[in-house]
């Protein structure tokens, strides 16, 4: 598969040729269309992608898929993204906990201090979503 290297850090990897398999990403969002679109976007960026439409599905998928990063919509039909992040952090399943990135069509300021208070690694507005942005989160995460 052709790997596109959309940003500096990605390019660095391409150039050294030591391309590691990109970690799996779990998209948690109840909008099918958006999920499908993001899957395309991220697969194009070289990620393996799994999907979940609800909070319950998300925790279940995290157990089976063991993603490196969870892109977690805050607005979910059952429990909200903050709660899912809390559950994922509380249940590391023995392995390293995934990097959780909260996302929303709203801005971070619409959630006040809740984002900072959550165990998630950070927040990415949906309209700024890109493989590069996710890689930055992965790079920041402790090994």
């Amino acid at each position: 598969m052709l790997r596109v290297c959309p940003d500096a850090s990605g390019r660095a990897r391409c150039q050294t040729g030591s391309v590691q398999p990109a970690p799996a990403i779990l998209i948690v969002d109840d909008h099918d269309g958006f999920r499908r679109f993001v899957r395309g976007l991220l697969e194009a960026a070289g990620f393996t992608v799994a999907e979940a439409a609800t909070g319950a599905e998300a925790t279940e998928a995290a157990r089976t898929v063991r993603p490196g990063l969870v892109l977690l919509d805050i607005q979910l039909p059952d429990f909200d993204g903050f709660e899912v992040a809390r559950r994922l952090a509380a249940d590391p399943l023995g392995g390293p906990a995934p990097v959780v990135v909260l996302t929303s069509t709203r801005e971070a300021s619409d959630y006040g201090g809740r984002i900072a208070a959550s165990p998630a690694a950070g927040f990415l507005p949906k309209d700024q979503l890109s493989g590069a942005a996710l890689r930055r989160f992965l790079a920041r995460a402790p090994a």
């Binding site: 679109f37 194009a44 709203r106 801005e107 619409d110 006040g112 201090g113």
Partner: protein, 576 residues
Amino acid sequence: MSRRLLAVLIAGAIAAAGGLAWSGWPPHSDYLPILICYEVIGSSYLVAGIAAWVRWPSSRLGLLFTIAGYLYLLPYILVNLANPVAFTIGNLGQGIYTAAVAHLGLAWPTGRLRSRFECGVVIAEYVTAVGFSAAAIVFWNPAFSGCDASCPANVLLAGDGSRSAGNAINTIGGFVGLVLTGIVLTLIVRHWRSARGWSRRAMVPLVWLAGAVGIEQIVTGGVLNLPLSSLVSFGLAPLVMLAGPVLFVISTVRARTAGGALGTAIVDLGQGASPARLREALARALGDSTLQLAFGRPDESGYLDTAGRAVDVDRPGPGRVVARIAGSDEAVLVYDEGLALEPQLVKLTAAAASMALEHARLQAEVQAQLEQVRASRTRIVEAGDAERRRLERDLHDGAQQRLVTLSLALGMARDRAAQADPELGSLIESASKEAREALTELRELARGIHPAVLTETGLTGAIQALAERSPVATTITAVPDGRFPAAIEATAYFVVSEALTNVAKHAMAGGAEVTIYQRPGRLVVEVSDDGAGGARPEGGSGLRGLADRVASVGGVLRMDSPPGCGTRLEADLPCP
């Protein structure tokens, strides 16, 4: 009372009083004060009789006063007539009025005697008065009393008479009279002690006056044989007989005073008084502490008074009378039977009670309606808030979501097209920019409709967001943690939002300060700035709408804006 009876009574009174003056004129100089004394006492009973008849047509008190008046005056008129038969009857009848006065005392205040025994006592009074006079007159030679030949003859005189026999009979009669007086006084005191409410108060002056009459009887009754001048024994001492008319005057004044006091009591009662307080006010005004105000139970199982005691309106108990309160078929007054003599006063009391109850009912109704209006206003605002929340959420889930996807897709398309066809790339870039701007505008719109941050984090985050977005440097001094009812949170938020908008637009301020704190049951929101001040509370629809919004949740909005000293807006909101 019929006009004919009234005319007869007035004519009779004038005739009797005039008759005494005419028959006794010209009096011997020593007898002028005595004549005046008789006139005053006799006519006062007749006048009191007429007045009592008018005031209490249903009672026998008018009749009793009138009888006492005639029994007092007629014997003296007869004695003065130069006719032996009249002279004899007149002498026979002197003193019989005391029986009528005793009758009056025992029948007070209703006009009815209370028992057969008391009837017997009254009959004994009349019989004793006439009987001993009749026995003594047989032995009384007018010459014994200093009569000369000009005196008419005693037609009942046996022989030349006997001073000692007459005196003996008079002494025995005096003793019997004293015993009867004692019985009457004892009965009166017992009436007073057993009386309650209105009647008890009516008995008080009687007890005093009866005591005075009793003392007068003992002093001048001849039993003690005190050395009294004729002026004292025949002129001044009998003045105590004015007790009867005085009693009437006192009771009349009392009823008038009570009537006036009722009006004052209702005015003083003020708004929203409970039935118990109404009863107290009426009882105090009337001077009848036993007055009861009773209401029909909702299940129609009888009546309860304001103290919660059951009241049988068909058999209210001895000495008690029931009156229904006009305009209210389930409220009644229960009062002492003595008060029944004053139908006007009872009517007045019932009218006062009816007015007060009606007033209380209307007030409760208005209050209830006001509560309903308040509640519905709050509900309308809450429904509006809920609708705005839903709208914001719909925008977020729908249009915002699609625009985000569109924007991302355009971004991707631009990246792919940029290398192959730069012109197409820049075209897509401008479309992407449009999409991003549309998204930003839509976000602002959604935030204006309802701030998601308020729903998400409550006041803490929402006020923080407002302060950060405000173009004027804004300090948050305090915002309580924790959540409040949605309507209160939304109102507090809109107060701060509107206030900060105004600061930015009009105040020319260097900084603003937001403080939100709790007092027991209240949440107070304060926004102040260091700007130009001089803002008018009525100025601007934003502030008016805000005042309405604050009022809708039962809060108060205050603005303090002295020219040159900044503006301070305070919303005091209820907060359970």
